[in-house]
């Protein structure tokens, strides 16, 4: 299964089993979404369960908050993560705080799906990775899968979660894993373990990281597309890296992370988002506190540069296997 099919399957399973689940967003209804994630769902479950909205992201989330407060479970799509900002107020000031501020009278079981990240020549408005703008907000959960298997299991878990979940979909790997070489041949998910996705209902619990590759030399923390790029980088550098796929950024599985860093004593954090105040900073702050006496080198970040995501220079912006490999070697020096 591709990641798109896996996401669609998750929504299909939940639409079929839970009448309170409802799906809406721009172009998601009749057409099935610009990335086709909801293709066929309206035909199968009806217009009252899967429908198109006007181009107003704050309305999409605001309506969903009203429905969720009533006990429904909206799973809405923002067409690109770059377009979530008109809804930022509804997400951070409303959805995130409704349970707390009403002392549980109203809750907000809501999923906001959005394609994230670059690598598709989308320029600055189809490439952003806004995860850190959500991890700073108490009350939200933030999830990002790196394989079709996890995409389905995490999305079902997110829809079943009692609290609002930001569900980021790394669009570069919708159709196959990506190892950082854009000129290389594209690989389909069918040829990858992570492409094996169970039929029907299953859950990948939120809040649990996954050790993507065991290793002893250095810990690499990554999520989404960068999990696969990091894998390629470690291979290229010939470093015995332990690669952890975080899967959920908030709440964070610090236990799995610190166990690894305490073992390796070295750590590189990788993400596509701009560096300053990116999620890498939070990881480093936590790790240096929990693993201070185990660290044998400074923790390093390989990230997008602190600039808008450029179009023509995309591959100079994207954290390449070469850049990651350099960091792996650097952090491995004694």
């Amino acid at each position: 299964m591709t990641m798109i099919e896996a996401l669609r399957s998750a929504m299909d399973v939940k639409l079929a089993s839970d009448p309170s689940v409802i799906i809406f967003g721009e172009d998601v209804g009749y057409f099935g979404g610009v990335f086709r994630c909801t293709a066929g769902l309206q035909a199968r479950h009806g217009e009252e369960r899967v429908f198109d909205t006007p181009i107003n992201e704050s309305a999409i989330v605001g309506l969903a908050v009203g429905m969720a407060a009533q006990g429904m479970r909206p799973c809405v799509e923002i067409q690109f993560a770059d377009y979530v900002f008109p809804a930022y107020d509804q997400i951070t000031q409303e959805a995130a705080r409704l349970r707390h501020r009403s002392n549980g009278q109203f809750t907000c079981p809501l999923v906001i799906r959005m394609p994230t990240g670059g690598g598709i020549f989308g320029g600055q408005t189809h490439s952003q990775s806004p995860e850190a703008l959500f991890t700073h907000v108490a009350g939200l959960k933030v999830v990002i899968p790196a394989t079709p298997h996890d995409a389905k299991g995490l999305l079902i878990a997110a829809i079943e979660d009692p609290d609002p979940v930001i569900f980021l979909e790394p669009k570069r790997i919708y159709n196959g894993p990506f190892y950082g070489d854009h000129s290389g041949k594209s690989v389909p998910w069918a040829s990858h373990d992570g492409g094996e996705v169970p039929e029907g209902h299953f859950v990948v619990p939120l809040g649990q990281a996954r050790v993507h590759r065991e290793g002893a030399g250095v810990t690499v923390l990554a999520y989404g597309t960068m999990v696969h790029v990091a894998e390629a980088a470690a291979a290229a550098a010939g470093v015995d890296a332990e690669i952890i796929d975080l899967r959920t950024l908030l709440p964070l599985d610090l236990e799995t992370i610190t166990a690894s860093v305490q073992k390796t004593g070295r750590c590189v954090v990788v993400h596509e988002a701009t560096r300053t105040s990116g999620f890498g900073a939070e990881l480093i702050a936590e790790i240096q506190e929990a693993c201070f006496w185990h660290l044998r080198a400074p923790l390093l970040r390989v990230t997008g540069w602190d600039a808008p995501y450029p179009h023509a220079q995309e591959w100079d912006y994207f954290p390449s296997p070469a850049r990651i490999a350099r960091a792996l070697l650097e952090v491995g020096k004694d």
Partner: protein, 410 residues
């Protein structure tokens, strides 16, 4: 060459000037008919630009909307009067409490009591209001226990919200009152979403959105109207036009719009403008709009025309930006006085009984207040556990919140 110059809306009078409401046209009571329940936007234009009024200058209930209410017994009107008096007593006592430092903040709805008191009495159980901070009258008319209401204002252990929210930011699901947000506008589109849920689930319930004239400028006002216009859910969208937004004259939010009600017509949503200081007009139009929504005729917007008599809040001093006696010049009068006059005219009330009722209600409110204050005020706090901070951020506390709670010492 160019003659393009900007326009800056200005209020009719500033502190050094005499109040001036000459620009406000007050149509005769009884002039507008009762439209059919399937009224559409086009046909609603006279209602959106005129003003529905029932009580005339002498306090008589006149015209088609009075007839729509039918032969009212005294009971609902007396209840309405008592609701408003109770509202006013609570406002008065709590303003006082804030002045004494017993709470950090308060905010009155003086002059606007008829709107929430009347509207709420027309709702049914299960219907949900999405109020702003100035709709405490909805709670009063929903018979929300004063203990809970005041407990919230004192952030003490009677507070259903455990001190988490600023005073006045109530939440009372069982009384059809959605959790108030301090961020203006956000709740308006949520009301539309809730109403969509009602329709999708077939509950027969409706939602009511509330917004101030100033906050109609917010984006969510637009997103609410747009969504309501597209999906036609059972929602009543209320605009409380009290002429001011803190220090800002309503003209700054209205721009060139004829009325706030007229704004809805552009979305194809029918709209009515109503004398908000006329309790009978309030219950009549509320009943019509709520029934209409419940019966599947879709959204409707109501502009309640009124005046914010008090300061914006205890942090505000209106004499800095408007004439001190502007409220007295307000052409629609006082909602309590007008209902009282009507009841006396009907022979169901008297000045004496009114004075007596005022005193009784103030007594009752003061008694509850004392009892609630015994649970703690800002002057004499009985602290809620700090660990409360962490409860309810999520359904289950995740590891980092458990660690932080420990770090806090709990």
């Amino acid at each position: 060459m160019s003659t393009a110059r900007l326009s800056f809306p200005r209020p009719p009078a500033r502190p050094d000037q005499a109040p001036d409401f000459s620009a406000i046209v007050v149509p005769q009571a009884g002039a507008l008919p009762v439209p059919p329940p399937d009224l559409d936007a086009g046909a609603s234009r006279p209602f959106a630009t005129g003003m529905i009024r029932v009580l005339d200058d002498d306090g008589r209930a006149v015209g088609p909307w009075a007839e729509y209410l039918g032969d009212l017994s005294a009971e609902p009107l007396l209840r309405g009067l008592r609701d408003m008096l109770r509202m006013r007593a609570v406002d008065r006592r709590m303003l006082n409490a804030q002045r004494q430092g017993k709470t950090s903040f308060y905010l009155q709805c003086t002059g606007e009591e008829a709107i929430g008191c009347g509207f709420q009495r027309e709702l049914s159980p299960g219907d949900m209001n999405f109020p702003t901070y100035r709709q405490q009258s909805l709670l009063i008319a929903a018979d929300y226990p004063l203990e809970a209401l005041m407990g919230q204002l004192y952030s003490n252990d009677l507070d259903p919200l455990q001190g988490r929210q600023l005073p006045i930011m109530h939440s009372a699901r069982d009384h059809g009152f959605f959790s108030i947000s301090g961020n203006l506008g956000t709740q308006y589109v949520q009301a539309v979403g809730w109403a969509m849920g009602c329709a999708l689930r077939g509950t027969g319930e409706i939602a009511a959105g509330w917004i101030g004239d100033g906050a109609t400028a917010s984006n969510d006002f637009h997103s609410a109207l747009l969504s309501a216009s597209v999906y036609l859910p059972p929602v009543v969208l209320n605009v409380v036009n009290n002429q001011w937004a803190i220090s800002t004259y309503t003209g700054v939010a209205a721009g060139q719009s004829e009325t706030y009600a007229a704004r809805a017509l552009g979305y194809g949503i029918p709209a009515l403008r109503v004398d908000g200081n006329d309790y009978l007009a309030v219950i009549a139009v509320s009943r019509w709009a709520i029934e209409r929504a419940r019966n599947g005729h879709g959204p409707v917007l109501i502009e309640w025309f009124t005046y914010r008599v008090a300061a914006h809040s205890t942090s505000d001093d209106p004499t800095a930006y408007r004439p001190r006696d502007e409220a007295k010049a307000w052409p629609l009068g006082d909602p309590v006085d007008r209902l009282k006059t009507h009841l006396i005219l009907r022979g169901d009330w008297s000045e004496d009984r009114h004075r007596q009722a005022e005193a009784e209600i103030l007594d009752e409110v003061t008694t509850v207040q004392k009892a609630v204050e015994a649970h703690g005020t800002f002057v004499d706090p009985q602290p809620i556990s700090p660990a409360e901070i962490f409860r309810g951020v999520y359904a289950e506390p995740p590891p980092h919140l458990r660690r932080q709670r420990q770090e806090m010492g709990f």
